[in-house]
């Protein structure tokens, strides 16, 4: 193969696919990036068999063909290339990069070795504005489990039902739920657990100027296409628990306050709680009258914060893992928030005052 393209285009290619490159525990020829030159474009492809990313960049191709190059080295080289037109040519299994009067020769592998991404047979698909999908990911990804023995909690439930698309994530201590209306004239239904790694990759790769994202799915895989990127991922097997059941429909105490106020108070309080056991910092909220108080004494010091709130319902004192509160406050898209509570050992809900499309449920910490 022989093709010409800009350094920028090469850089876009390697940056886009890098997260799909296999880790160190596989054969070297799988820790690689697959390249295919076609008329007018150069295609980048990487996969670790869980997730595969394909990206096209513009190129002037003289001869079509393929290459399989060591991902890390090739990416490092591309990053250091001068900002100019690059000629990429294959010589047997190796690559020759030319720019100005210079050239780099890089040994590659047999492209036939590379596992191709499976084609989705009879996929079902729908499209939605990429901006709203990006928001949904941002609002829910925070609740997905990082370390958890049950794999289903390391993914986000993607659910389409009628004209509603939902993303739900939970690590069993909190649950984030986000929904959005979509056009679904054919009345398709779908439900699958997408690895959170895939979701954070989509979030990273979605650009503001990608106007829509097309989602295709079968029983075992789902793919996302936006701009020049095509990302395919395996779904996590298993049954996502019945999340609807755990979302309370009423509450005993409802308060309204400024997101910024609560966030800053909890951040300060968690500084003083850092020494507590196993890295969990607790924050105790005392809601009484028109005030929310955070009072906290540890070996290293003491904090006492008071915030003005609007309250309906009973007074309550409740403790949370402060990280679980901060995570949601950082993604909440409004200045004000609603906090709904039903007792010191019951689930609480945080939402924006107006929007019914999002909620974040969190469970308290039982203290003695």
């Amino acid at each position: 193969m022989k093709t010409h393209c800009s350094k920028d285009a090469l850089l876009t290619g390697v940056n886009t696919v890098q997260k799909a490159v296999s880790g160190k525990n596989v054969e070297p020829d799988l820790q690689s990036i697959f390249l295919r030159a076609e008329a007018g474009k150069l295609i980048f492809l990487a996969t670790d068999m869980e997730i595969g990313i394909r990206c096209e960049v513009p190129a002037e191709t003289e001869t079509e063909g393929t290459l399989l190059l060591p991902a890390k080295l090739f990416s490092d080289i591309v990053r250091k290339l001068p900002d100019t037109q690059i000629t990429l040519e294959s010589q047997a299994e190796s690559a020759n990069l030319e720019y100005y009067q210079s050239q780099i020769f890089l040994k590659g592998y047999d492209p036939e070795q590379f596992p191709l991404l499976p084609d989705l047979l009879d996929p079902v698909s729908f499209s939605l504005p990429s901006e709203s999908f990006k928001t949904m990911i941002r609002e829910t990804l925070i609740a997905a489990a990082q370390e958890e023995s049950r794999p289903i909690f390391k993914g986000l439930l993607l659910e389409m039902e009628g004209s509603v698309l939902r993303l739900i994530a939970t690590d069993t201590h909190r649950l984030a739920y986000s929904q959005s209306g979509i056009d679904n004239p054919n009345g398709l239904d779908f439900s699958g657990i997408v690895p959170s790694k895939t979701m954070s990759e989509i979030y990273r790769l979605l650009k503001d100027d990608d106007d829509s994202i097309t989602v295709r799915f079968t029983g075992s895989h789902v793919s996302f296409q936006f701009g020049a990127v095509h990302l395919l991922t395996r779904l996590i097997e298993g049954q996502f628990p019945n999340y609807k059941q755990v979302i309370p429909s009423s509450c005993r105490t409802k308060i309204r306050l400024l997101v910024k106020d609560l966030m800053e108070s909890v951040e300060r309080a968690s500084l003083l709680a850092r020494e507590s056991s196993a890295g969990v910092s607790l924050v105790r909220l005392e809601i009484s009258g028109d005030l929310l108080k955070i009072e906290h004494t540890t070996d290293i010091g003491k904090i006492s914060e008071q915030l003005s709130i609007e309250k309906e319902g009973a007074d309550i004192t409740i403790s949370f893992n402060s990280r679980f509160i901060l995570d949601v406050l950082r993604v909440l898209p409004s200045d004000q928030m609603r906090f709904e509570l039903s007792g010191p050992q019951s689930a609480a809900i945080i939402r924006t005052p107006a929007d019914e499309n999002y909620l974040y449920l969190l469970l308290p910490v039982r203290t003695n």
Binding site: E148, S149, H173, V246, V365, N368
Partner: protein
Amino acid sequence: MAEQVAKQVAERQIVHVDMDAFYASVEQRDDPSLQGKPVIVGGKPNSRGVVSTASYEARKAGVHSAMPLAEAWRRCPQGIFLPVNGRKYREVSGQIRQIFLTYTPLVEPLSLDEAFLDVTASSAIFGPAASIGHIIKERIRDELGLTASVGVAGNKFLAKLASDLRKPDGFVVVPAEGVQEFLDPLPVERIWGVGQKTAERLHGLNVKTVRDLRRLDASYLKQLFGVLGGQLYELARGRDERPVENERETKSIGRETTFGADVGDRDFLEGVLLELSCDVGQGLRREKLKGRTITLKVRYQDFRTLARSCTLAEGTNLDDVIYRETCRLFRAVALKQPLRLIGVSVHQLAKQEEGQLSLFADDREERENLARVIDEVREKYGAQSIMRARLLSPTGKNQADDAPGVPGKPRERPGNGSERKSPSGGSAATGRE
């Protein structure tokens, strides 16, 4: 600042109390027929555990702690071999601790049989440190019928060296002005942190004693040994600022077993893991702790040792969960060679009460209640009163009296990453990975 520290160090008064052949002495005290006889605590001579403690009579025959029992048997066939009675030693250790606590709240136990005491502030009430040390030694003898070796000095390093100097039944005081005189003739191996490797390198530099070591300057030592070099420089001058820490948090709870004969049978090993997991779970519940990180340790026939860990989203102290995770880790371990040792430990501990509530885990509370009730039954009616059916079958440890499968000494390790060497302590710490 440096002067301030130096002053502080000079003023501190530290007592190190080290029980003489503790386990063996307790056994001899409680059974007069054992007095004057070579007693070896550790297990049956035909099993493959190691000696925990040998009485001084047995030491004369060349038996010492950490020696394989079979070797001890060869050297001392007339020896009286006893199993490790952990519960009894813990009880006696608690009584000794009560004596310590009458003189100072600053007690740092290193193991069941030795502890540091900071008596700096106690002198105003109880008199000079040396006399506190002496009273403690006498009370241990009079009230508990056991002998201890006691060292009194201005820091932990010197106090420990002092208690070891005239063992058994020793009593050594290192006065502030006599530190260098005390240290200089000692071989470098006696310095805290100098193991075999470091000693060999020092010998290569013709450094045999602390006096020799003092001739090397700080920068050269740091160049040779890094951080340890700086430490050696200070210790050679009798300087050690480590405080006596009275409440050392439990950092991990673990149990391990050395097999009578190397075992390669996965089913059998899983049975052993179940038993160890239950022990660890019970240990956690007794301390009212939960742990998030679970570690499996295996040692192959050729002594190669592996540790594999996983971290849970939330802490547990349930036998089932510990066992399930341990088994998962175990499945990823190749059994190309049989194992001589297997162990389970739990780290990243937190207080049980701080319970983060969960969704989709409704049965957890019930399981915790069940575990608590079972613990209570066993506490009241003995460990055999209620047990898992699977553990009724011979997996080894239950038949501890018949090899194979005498358990290695179960240990609760402080495991804070810098295990202190305690050359005189009875238990031979197994190496970390």
